[in-house]
Each structure stands twice: as C-alpha cells, then as structure tokens.
C-alpha cells in the first residue's frame, strides 16, 4: 500500500481567479486533476470505525470509494458512490461537507480533513467525461409510485425506487426538471448541464418525468391514487418567500432571492438573450446571511452590479452560509455589513411629477445597528437593536433572502395531511410517512429550507419505507 500523505492541508481546489469569475457565470471551482485526486486520496487513513460515513446523510461508503481512487479505478469509485447517492456530481459540489462527512474526519483533528467532497466531485466528473452512457436492465415489479417535485429529494426517491423495479412518475410544476438545483442554485456553483445529466440518468432508468403539472391543482393526490399509483412521495420543496414587513418593501427593485435567482437561473436571464428581464447594475443590497443570500449576491455581481452588500443582523460567526461560499463572496469583492438590519426601504417620489418614471423605485435602505444579546433557544445570541444608530445605504436593487414558508398548494387540496405550526408536513422521521396512509414526504416541504443532501437523505429514507409499505401489501 502506498504511503499515506501526512500533509495537514487538503490539496487546494483550483478555482477561477476572483477578478475573472466575478464577471462570468462559469463554474468557480474547477475540480481536481487526476494527480491531485490521487494525492488527496492518500490522506485518508481508512479508520476502522469510519466516522465520515456516519456524518453523511446518505451513508456513502467513503473510505471504500477513496480506496478505489488510490487504486486508480475511478469508475469503481463512482459505482461505490452511486450505490448510496443518486446525484453524485451535484453533491460533490453543493453539500456542506464541512459540517457532515468532513467534520467527522480524524485528519481534521490536527489539520484539515480529507477533501471528501472534492474527491466525490472528481470521481463524478471523471465518470461523466469517460464512462459510456449507462444502460439499465431492471426487472420491473409492476407497482407504481408517483413523486411530487423533481428537486433533490424527489429525484433521489425516484432513483432508488426505479432501481428496485418500481414504475415511477415524477410530476414537476415548472417547465424544467431539477427543482432548486435548476431554479435556485446558480450556474457558477452548479452548472445546469450537470443537473440535466443526472435527470437523463433517471430517464434512462425508466423514470417518467411529467413537467408542467402542478399537484394540488392540475391533479390532486387523490387522483394520483385513483389513477393507479400505490404510494405518493411529496417533495414539493420550500414555498413562499418571507418578507420583512417593513415600509417600502413594495417598491420597484425589491424582490425575493427566489424571484431574483429564478429569473437568472431557471429563466436564464443571466444570458441576456432571453425574454425574461432582470435588474442589472447599480448598488445591490442582499438581506440575509444564508447560502441563498450568497448565491443572490454573487449572481448580482456577475450581472454587472457596481457594488453588492450583504446586510446581516448577526456577526460573521453566526452567518449560516457555508464558509467556502462566504470566502468566495469576499474574494469577489462582496461587502459584508454585519450586525445591522433594515428598518425601512426608501423609494423615489417626485412630488412635482406623478408621472416621473423613477417614482416608486427603490433608492436605499435605512438600517439600524445591532449588538448581540443573550442566546436564544437555539443557542444563537439574539441580535438587539442599538437605539438611535440608524443609517442609510444607497440601493437600486434590494434582494430579500430571509427564508421561505412551505407551499400551501398540496396541503390545502389534500385531505388527511397534517402540518406543523410552520406549515411543514408532519412525517415519521424513520419512514417519511405522513399522517395519510400511502403518502410520504421529505425535503423542504417537511423541514422548511434546508440543504440538498438532507433532502436527498429524506428521499432515500422514504424510498425504503415506500418499498416496505407496498411489499407488505398495506396499500391494498
């Protein structure tokens, strides 16, 4: 066996230089070369108790795939990941490995953990570039399952069930499959070709994807059962964006991050040659500190903003976004205005000319400074306003990225589905079973806004439970 690489540092991820990438939508991280991957694989100590696997929501056999890399068998490594994950090229890019698998890595105690995410991405990209299109010969079992939503949770559940022989149909409300992977996460973090490739893989496995069908509207959950589906998985995702409820939020130029990102990503307005318009240029303020806020800020920058500022009411320490995304944003020149919170959005008003075309457009944000007080129930220190500390920031666009509340469409049209006080569907944690027999759910529709990988984990759990449910004959 080759000698382990005892460097305390990960092989750095090659990236596009910050000054260059701030002006294009090409992927920021470029991926390991074979040499870098082999070298990084040598950092794995192959611990017997595999703490990293316990940190992975879908329990990928991490040491086993790294071992295959070390042997130079990249396709073999891919197949090991594929046993547990339906979307390896996606997860290798967007998973918060630092709080999952890599947070448990023994190498992380004295130095940096093994770059598991980077290796996963390398293996998936190698497979996509080198392996012939997969052909599947799956023995069908004659049972039908409907999946609502083609985001990470629905795609995972569909993939696992299809592999078990189920006839799976995914219903997608929008015109393109992929859910948040397509409308939410920008091209520079997750190229849409990669999502399309994963979706094509599912189609090759025989999964039927019906776009433009809104479950709860075009068809109801009851009709899915009437049409012969034996179980339904709801992975309809997060819903309505939250707003702050402060004066001026109705000004032109104020939008939710969902709207801004949907325009750019799903509708492709970043390209500039499509019909959907988007606000470009000027001063942009993004309110919020999560990954969605980082995505919106970095998208605005690439669309030609003169200046992009993130306004967040806590400090850098509490910022919920991934560290890597924050660092990338800082390198690209995005300003972080921490410990302050908007109290009013200022709009233009020409008292002499009601027809002035600038009337109603945002001109700035009035913020108040905050300090951290006592910890709240989750242990995060509560931000408290400092009286009299208001100040104004100029803005042409204000993007609100402070979370979402679950979409009401399905729960309001389906009997027997109970929801919690936040509107999330109530499920059994170990199965994803909702309060209605035969209906399972997972992802943001249950938890509210969370990560791609936790949605995938929920899809996986539900696929197993749906299989047990149908095989036990309970659906009859």
């Amino acid at each position: 066996m080759a000698k382990p690489n005892m460097s305390p540092h990960k092989n750095p991820m090659p990236t596009q230089p910050a000054e260059e990438r701030a002006h294009n939508f090409r992927e920021v991280a470029l991926g390991y070369s074979e040499e870098q991957a082999l070298d990084e694989a040598l950092r794995c100590l192959h611990c017997k108790n595999m703490p990293c696997v316990a940190g992975c929501p879908v329990h990928i056999h991490i040491p086993a795939f790294i071992e295959k890399i070390r042997e130079g068998d990249f396709e073999g490594a891919y197949q090991i990941i594929r046993e547990s994950s339906s979307l390896p090229a996606v997860c290798g890019r967007v998973c918060p490995q630092e709080t999952q698998c890599e947070s448990k890595c023994v190498r992380g105690i004295k130095g940096e953990p093994v770059g598991i995410g980077r290796l996963e991405r390398f293996v998936s990209d190698w497979h996509n570039a080198h392996a012939p299109a997969e052909s599947f010969s799956i023995q069908k079992n004659g049972h039908r399952v409907a999946i609502v939503g083609s985001g990470p949770s629905g795609l995972t559940c569909a993939g696992d069930l299809a592999r078990l022989g189920y006839d799976v149909t995914i219903y997608e409300a929008l015109h393109t499959a992929g859910g948040v992977l397509v409308y939410g996460i920008p091209e520079f973090r997750l190229p849409k070709d990669i999502v399309a490739g994963e979706v094509d893989n599912l189609r090759a496995m025989g999964v039927d994807i019906e776009t433009n069908i809104i479950i709860g509207k075009t068809l109801t959950v009851d009709e899915l059962f009437e049409n012969g589906f034996e179980a339904v998985y709801i992975g309809s995702g997060a819903g309505l964006p939250n707003f702050m409820g402060i004066p001026g939020e109705g000004c032109n130029g104020v939008c939710s991050a969902n709207e801004f990102l949907t325009r750019s990503n799903l509708m492709k307005s970043y390209r500039g040659d499509v019909d959907t318009p988007i606000q470009r240029g000027g001063n942009v303020i993004v309110v919020g500190g999560g990954n969605v806020a980082m995505d919106a800020a970095r998208t605005a920058l690439r669309l030609g903003a003169d200046k992009v500022s993130i306004v967040y009411r806590r400090s850098m320490e509490e910022l919920p976004a991934r560290r890597e995304e924050v660092e990338h944003a800082q390198e690209e020149g995005i300003e972080f205005r921490l410990l302050c919170n908007p109290v009013e959005i200022l709009g233009y008003h020409n008292p002499d000319n009601p027809r002035d075309p600038r009337n109603g457009f945002v001109t700035g944000v009035r913020c108040i400074r905050m300090e951290l007080g006592e910890p709240d129930e989750r242990g995060r220190r509560r931000p408290v306003e400092i009286p009299g500390s208001e100040f104004e920031m100029p803005a042409d666009t204000v993007i609100i990225a402070i979370g979402t509340s679950p979409n009401p469409l399905i729960r309001s049209t389906t009997k027997g589905l109970e929801v919690n006080r936040h509107g999330g569907l109530i499920v059994e944690e170990n199965t994803g079973a909702t309060t209605r027999a035969g209906v399972f759910a997972g992802g943001d529709a249950v938890t509210g806004a969370a990560t791609v990988i936790s949605a995938m984990g929920a899809g996986k759990v539900a696929a197993r439970a749906i299989d047990e449910y149908i095989q036990s004959g309970a659906q009859k």
Partner: protein, 286 residues
C-alpha cells in the same frame, strides 16, 4: 408541447386561441389562470382562462398584444404548438350563494369576466354586466355577455358604440337609484378597478377585483406577484398566485400595484420593439 387548435383575431390587438390541454381543461374554473411559454427561451406569462371545453380538452385564452411575448404568441398559427401551458392556478372566483351580481369588465379583462358571468348565470343568479372599451373597434364578446346577463350595458370611451363614458358612470347611476347587489365583481385595467371600488365603496357592497401582477412561476415560489393589502389598519403581504387572483377590492393598495406593474417597463418596451423588428425582417426576407 400544447397545440393551438383554433385562433381567431377578435380585433386588431386582441386574439382568441383554443389550446389543447385536457388536464387543464378538466379542472379550470372561472377566475383561475394558466402560465404559458411560447418558446424555449420565452418568459412565463400568466393568462386568466376565458373558458374551457372539457369534452374537447381545450382551454380558451384571450390576450391583448402588449409586449414581446404576446406578440410572439400572436404570430403562432393554428396547428402550431406552445412550449408550455400549465394550470389551472390560483383560486376560482367565489360564486356560491350569490343571487344578484354586477360584473364590471374593462377591455381585455372582459375575457376573464365572461366565464364568471356565465357561471353565475348558469347557477340562476341575476347578472348585470357593464363592459367598457376604448372604442367600437376594440369591442369583444358582446353577444356572449348578452346571453349571460339579464342586463348588459356597453360603454365606449369615445362614444363610437353603446354609451359614451367609462364603466363607473352607469354603475354609479344604478347604485344611486338604490339598486343593490350581493357583490360587484370587476376585472380590467388597475386604474379602472380602483375607480370601480371607489364607486361601490359608499354602498358597502362587497367588491371583488381580479389582480394580474407580474409573475414568474405562478405556483407560490418566487413572490414576484405580491400585493399589499390594508386589513384592519395593518399592511399584509399577499400573493396573487396562491391567495388570488381575486381579492377584496377594499383592501388592495392599487397605487403600489400600478407602480409595481411598471417595474420592467423599459425592458419590456425594448423587447417588444426588438420582437416587432425581427418579425418585420422575417417578413421582408420571405
């Protein structure tokens, strides 16, 4: 892909189409809308359904050519296909329990008002319809409204047909005469609906308006269609796609809605001019 079964120009700027979309046709109720895309790089636009034939599996849409997308839509011929057509979205217009209703439609909004009038009429409700247009050339759906109404008043701004004036004139006369309705339902340009609401307000008759703000997904995800309501002295943010498109007219902040409707005016005008230029070039090439 969704086939255009029939296309009928109703006037120089308004076109009627029947789209083959059996799942939508089976479900759509008056007041609900669909989202369509004309082509793969097209934008998603909402159009409220103007009726549907459940047997034939077709949905009737009536649209005014106001920008690039409706211009492209209007260039499609019978037998052509639309890229996407999804729905029905939004909540249907509430019609239960209504016995006497006044429908006030303006311009292409009449296309949305018509199925509501028809539904009420079919349910045995007494319907008064007031429909207004800029001029006789732009008049649409008169016969269908007549068939669905006990009383029909047609108004034109220039007096070229029916009575001269806007829809609020006869509405005010009727209300001033002491006549009462269970509800007034109004669908048309924002400025018209705003004034209809103000005309009805003194009577306290419930007044429903149909809002048509800018939308993207139409399914409750992007928040682009948000409206401000003034309810019990508080500002409430509401979403036309899942909470509407019908709203209590007394609560709507019309001024904000009108400003927000103009958010992309410059981009829209540019896109429209560019689209028209491209169509002209195509024609010249042919």
């Amino acid at each position: 892909m969704f086939r255009i079964v029939k296309k009928i120009p109703l006037n120089p700027t308004v076109t009627e189409m029947y789209i083959e979309a059996p799942l939508v046709a089976a479900k759509a109720l008056p007041g609900q809308f669909i989202i369509l895309r004309v082509d793969p790089d097209g934008e998603r636009i909402p159009l409220t359904v103007a009726g549907c034939d459940k047997k034939a599996g077709t949905v009737r849409i009536i649209f005014q050519i106001v920008g690039a997308t409706t211009e492209k839509l209007n260039h499609k011929k019978e037998g052509d296909f639309l890229q996407d057509f999804a729905g029905p979205l939004g909540r249907p217009t509430r019609t239960e329990g209504l016995h006497r209703v006044c429908i006030v439609g303006g311009g292409v909004g009449c296309a949305i008002a018509l199925p509501v009038a028809q539904k009420l009429h079919d349910d045995g409700c007494e319907v008064t319809s007031i429909i207004g247009f800029r001029s006789k050339d732009l008049l649409i759906l008169e016969d269908e409204f007549r068939a669905a109404s006990q009383r029909l008043v047609v108004m034109t701004d220039d007096g070229s047909y029916g009575r001269k004036g806007n829809v609020c004139v006869p509405l005010k006369e009727i209300l001033d005469s002491g006549e009462r309705f269970d509800e007034v339902i109004t669908i048309g340009p924002l400025i018209m609906m705003k004034f209809v609401v103000e005309t009805v307000r003194p009577t306290g008759i419930p007044c429903t308006v149909s809002m048509n703000p800018i939308m993207i997904d139409g399914t409750g995800m992007c928040g682009g269609c948000r409206l401000t309501l003034h309810r019990d002295g508080k500002r409430v943010t509401s979403f036309a796609c899942v909470d509407g498109p019908d709203f209590n007219g007394y609560e709507i902040d019309f001024d904000e809605a009108m400003t927000r409707g103009g958010m992309y005016r410059t981009a829209e005008r540019h896109a429209y001019e560019e689209t028209c230029r491209l169509f002209r070039m195509q024609k010249e090439d042919a």
